[in-house]
């Protein structure tokens, strides 16, 4: 039977797999040192580009894996949920999120890893994150217009640009490898 094998959102098996995936995710982040805020902000001061390397490596591997498993017929790529596009709120939310990340030194996922490794600042970021989401949710009314604007559904770069999926895959790989080369060059003098 072609993958995805289980529609595991809330079944017991699905939730168990959620914990498993999360554990592997958390371990990988911790291994890379992204539970350390100082290491993470090094990205934005050009001294330690681990964030970029980890993120792009993960994206490239998962993207290539999904593409080729789809080609082989092992994975039914059409049944994998593509995060949806809302142009305006994701642009605005992205900039806001990035600023918050620079202030906090951690992102939501890494803050959990940091807290789990005993770091008090990780816990502070988690509490802040929770508070921010709560307050934003309670005061949602004025944001609603922006939140629901410019919906584009599960739009891929391939569909949007009218370019074959494989060509976009190649472009992403090329950009990532170029980015890695530049990152190594930036880090070396430090």
């Amino acid at each position: 039977m072609t993958a995805p094998w289980i529609d595991g959102d809330t079944s017991a098996a699905g939730l168990a797999i959620a914990v498993g995936c999360g554990a592997a995710f958390g371990a990988a982040l911790e291994r890379a040192g992204l539970g350390s805020a100082r290491k993470l902000v090094g990205q934005f001061y050009g001294t330690d580009l681990t964030v970029l390397k980890v993120m792009l490596s993960a994206i490239v591997v998962a993207m290539l894996g999904a593409f080729w498993l789809g080609q082989l017929g092992v994975l039914d790529l059409a049944r994998v949920a593509v995060p949806e596009t809302w142009l305006a709120p994701q642009l605005v939310g992205g900039v806001v999120f990035g600023a918050g990340m620079a202030i906090a030194g951690l992102c939501p996922g890494t803050s959990c890893v940091a807290a789990a490794s005993g770091r008090g600042d990780g816990l502070a970021v988690m509490l802040g994150m929770f508070s921010g989401v709560l307050v934003t949710g309670l005061a949602f009314a004025p944001l609603r217009a922006l939140y629901e604007a410019t919906a584009r559904g599960p739009l891929t770069l391939s569909a949007w640009l009218g370019v074959p999926y494989g060509a976009v895959v190649l472009a992403v790989v090329a950009i990532a490898l170029a980015g890695f080369g530049i990152a190594e060059r930036i880090e070396r003098p430090a």
Binding site: P4, G20, A24, T85, G98, V125, L134, Y147
Partner: protein, 171 residues
């Protein structure tokens, strides 16, 4: 500048492993990873516990209260796993210890306040964007979602814009 050598793993190898975890999630369950959704569902659940009618009338929280309820949420269980995996990995590497990690320019109390404030700002951003770096950027990036790549570029832009202002804190 600190010269301590920490035995962190190679970022490319770790990133590739992370990519395999993400791929496994695609193959087994047809969805990707995430983080901010867990915070949203917790906020919805707590609000519902305190003020059920208001929570259900709130258009943002209502979606998390639908279906099987806010606590039976894939991302919530996944985040639990993240904490578990992070703790075990830290313990195995001898990195598990109580500390407040901060830059040389901020004392511990200030660091905690900044952490909280930064977290709150990220909360706002994650609500608007419907995701964060883990869920939207990683998952959506791998699946070539336009919004994910837009979010990633915007987030990096926002961070790079804010970084000079915070230089005194971190450097």
């Amino acid at each position: 500048m600190t010269c301590e050598r920490r035995p962190y793993a190679d970022p490319y190898v770790t990133g590739a492993c992370l990519g395999l975890v993400l791929l496994a999630a695609f193959v087994i369950t047809g969805r990707g990873l995430g983080a901010s959704g867990a915070f949203a569902t917790t906020a919805a659940g707590l609000t519902h516990a305190i003020a059920p009618a208001q929570a259900e009338a709130n258009p943002y929280f209502a979606r998390y209260l639908a279906g099987d309820g806010p606590w039976r949420d894939w991302l919530l269980f996944e985040i639990g796993g993240v904490a578990l995996g992070g703790a075990v990995s830290a313990w195995a590497a001898g990195r598990l210890r109580g500390q407040i990690e901060r830059g040389p320019g901020a004392r511990s109390p200030a660091r905690l306040v900044l952490g909280f404030a930064g977290g709150a700002v990220m909360g706002l951003g994650a609500v608007l964007a419907r995701g964060c770096t883990s869920g939207l950027a990683l998952t959506g990036g791998a699946l070539l979602s336009v919004g994910a790549w837009l979010f990633m570029l915007a987030a990096f832009a926002g961070a790079y814009l804010a970084a000079p202002v915070l230089r005194r804190v971190w450097r």
